[in-house]
């Protein structure tokens, strides 16, 4: 049996159990979290293509599975990323019962993660676009659970991801078949335009972020966090695979300058709107935009260090998002109004959940002592020599988004009238505390996550040259 088949079967099994247990959040959470963690362990540690013994029976797990002439492969190049995605899913599913994101969260979340993992394993990799579309289709169940559905957000998600799939499929066909190189500037420009459209959707460059604005406000933020974290990380890794595969793309200085320009624009737009927004959820979308801008600046350096920093930022972004999502979900559980007024004083009556929401937001903003800071520090050091102006932009982004954090801190601590609040269980405290500790630990000890980043990039050999 091959590793991709084992991963697919276990994913389907966990999905089935998640469906059966959908009305029992705790059981569903335990099953899906355990399944995801077991798959992470398998992806990271299983002896692939080596004879081994399980319960005294000699077995050999293959690395590849053929389907309709195409192959799904778990290789040294994608094991770390696949493992990371399952670890993140395990963490998010584990804490999910406290956030109560809807009956379909666990099974649909498993399908989303499974489809994204298939996108990472498929070869030729251009077919990944179709798997990302399937992930978006399953994502509809995440952002539109009964009773808390974001219909408009779902419609936009479907339209945008379909456009992205079409753009990437055409580009994926053009690049090897038509002979697009630096010597064919007209074709190269057309391919880059299509790729830009596809990746703009996948990594949420405006205006393709509007589905997220709808979804995060109308639906459960925790469910949206899983969807956006997984899809955006996959989109970034997919982009790096394109750069790794096509030498003319990564040596195109004009393209790198354009990526830097887009990154700078995202930092400015994200910073301004994060400050101006009156809803914390929408504010986080713009902080996320600024974070993406910083990631694109790291890509634009076009060096192994730059790519490592981009992947590192992507990894800690998911953790920051999950912690924020857990905190805000617990805060919002007793109210339907998501605007500023509804959060006033919540830091006084629900301090741990408020702290989780703020620490997650601070990490996304890249404030010192949080998980988002070390990669920004590294980026500033890398940029200081070659583009000091851009390094200043990174500092400006941290400051603008830091001000947004201060604004929400003031809101949470401002005095408000008495309101009935529900106490937390010990397990809720434990998960909220664990999330906060994780963000702070990664801020103090970034070496806990960066070896994984180096391993994840080892599959993209051309980017390391």
């Amino acid at each position: 049996m091959s590793a991709p088949v084992i991963i697919s079967l276990v994913t389907l099994m966990v999905f089935g159990l998640g469906i059966v247990l959908r009305h029992r959040p705790l059981a569903s959470s335990v099953v899906t979290a355990s399944g995801a963690m077991a798959l992470a362990l398998f992806a990271l540690r299983a002896p692939i293509d080596q004879p081994t013994e399980i319960f005294g029976i000699a077995v050999k797990i293959g690395d590849s599975f053929q389907v309709l002439g195409r192959s799904l492969t778990l290789s040294a190049g994608n094991r770390a990323v696949v493992g990371f995605l399952f670890v993140v899913a395990g963490f998010v599913f584990g804490a999910g019962w406290a956030a109560r994101p809807g009956a379909y969260f666990f099974p649909a979340g498993m399908v989303v993660v499974g489809a994204v993992v298939a996108a990472l394993m498929i070869s030729p990799f251009l077919y990944a676009a179709a798997f990302l579309e399937i992930a978006a289709l399953a994502g509809v169940l995440l952002i539109a659970p009964p009773g808390r559905a974001s219909i408009r957000g779902s419609e936009r998600l479907l339209l945008f991801y379909t456009l992205a799939m079409l753009a990437i499929l055409v580009t994926g066909w053009m690049l090897p078949s038509v002979g697009v190189t630096r010597a064919t500037p007209e074709l190269a420009a057309r391919a880059i335009r299509l790729l830009a459209l596809g990746f703009a959707v996948l990594i949420l460059v405006p205006p393709f972020h509007i589905w997220l604005l709808d979804a995060i406000e109308e639906s459960s933020p925790y469910a949206v966090v899983l969807l956006v974290g997984v899809l955006q990380s996959a989109g970034l890794f997919f982009m790096l695979r394109f750069l790794d595969n096509y030498e003319w793309l990564r040596t195109d200085l004009g393209l790198m300058a354009d990526i830097r320009l887009v990154g700078a624009a995202l930092i400015v737009i994200g910073g301004l709107f994060a400050l101006a927004e009156r809803s914390m959820a929408r504010s986080v979308v713009y902080v996320l935009m600024g974070d993406l801008g910083v990631t694109l600046l790291a890509v634009s350096i076009n060096t192994p260090v730059g790519y490592q920093l981009a992947l590192g930022l992507s990894a800690v972004r998911v953790i920051g998002l999950a912690v924020w999502g857990l905190g805000i979900s617990v805060l919002q559980r007793e109210q339907s109004d998501r605007k500023t007024a509804a959060l006033e004083g919540r830091g006084l009556d629900t301090p741990i959940a408020s702290a989780a929401a703020l620490v997650g937001l601070a990490s996304l903003s890249g404030l010192p002592m949080t998980a988002g800071f070390p990669a920004r520090w590294g980026l500033m050091a890398a940029l200081a020599g070659q583009a000091p102006g851009v390094a200043l932009l990174v500092i400006a982004s941290v400051m603008a988004e830091g001000l947004a954090c201060v604004k929400w801190l003031r809101v949470l601590l401002s005095p408000a009238g008495p309101r009935p609040t529900r106490g937390h269980s010990r397990a809720e405290y434990a998960f909220l505390g664990l999330g906060i500790s994780l963000v702070l630990s990664l801020g103090l000890f970034p070496q806990l996550v960066f070896p994984w980043v180096v391993q994840a990039l080892s599959g993209l050999k051309n980017l390391l040259l």
């Binding site: 077919y127 419609e155 339209l159």
Partner: protein, 206 residues
């Protein structure tokens, strides 16, 4: 057989355009479902020109399943007419829809004559068919607010793309994935439509 398909391909293009227009302009759920089936048949015809009848047959079969999902969804929601735009929706004005459709048809005609896709091996009929379906699908997905109408727009867009892509890529894996995406979109549209209708249905009952 191939010669017959090629000879009558312009009829398939005309059918694709007419069904695309019907899907944007009409509100009657029965006619919308019939137009959707006819659109899959027209798109299948144009795909068969490039990939052969067997592959086109699989796509048409997938399309028929999509139409069944759409029809069953609408039939089960008799209390709330999910196909008709609300009064405050711009698309509620039928004259507006006709103006939009005419503009799109003109734009599609202009683009089709220029072979804007520039894909090798793509016949002019396939270019016209793909262009009309993609543009009309995009318009429908962008302007309507009812989930099933949006999804039907996305499906038209995807059908148009399928016609063009068939000329350059014959991989069964991609075709199978695209059929799965068609079915997944129909199911997602069905789910969202039922979800949106749920409060009003409860209102009718209670």
């Amino acid at each position: 057989m191939s010669a017959v398909l090629t000879a009558y391909a312009p009829w398939a293009v005309a059918s694709a355009a007419i069904t695309g227009v019907m899907l944007v302009v009409l509100d009657d759920r029965r006619w919308l479902t019939i137009a959707l089936v006819a659109q899959y048949l027209a798109a299948g015809w144009l795909v068969a020109d490039a990939l052969g009848l067997a592959v086109a047959g699989a796509q048409i079969l997938g399309g028929l399943l999509v139409a069944i999902i759409v029809w069953l969804t609408w039939r089960n929601l008799e209390a709330a007419d999910q196909a008709v735009p609300r009064a405050n929706d711009l698309m509620a004005l039928r004259s507006f829809r006709w103006v939009v459709v005419l503009l799109v048809l003109f734009a599609g005609w202009g683009l089709g004559r220029r072979d804007w896709m520039g894909l090798p091996g793509l016949t002019s009929t396939a270019v016209f068919g793909a262009t009309f379906l993609m543009l009309l699908g995009l318009v429908q997905a962008s302007l309507y607010r009812a989930p099933m109408r949006v999804v039907i727009g996305v499906l038209s867009l995807l059908s148009g793309f399928g016609i063009a892509y068939a000329a350059v890529e014959s991989s069964l894996a991609v075709i199978a994935l695209l059929i799965i995406v068609h079915l997944g979109l129909a199911l997602a549209g069905s789910y969202l439509t039922i979800l949106q209708a749920a409060p009003s249905e409860r209102g009718v009952e209670g």
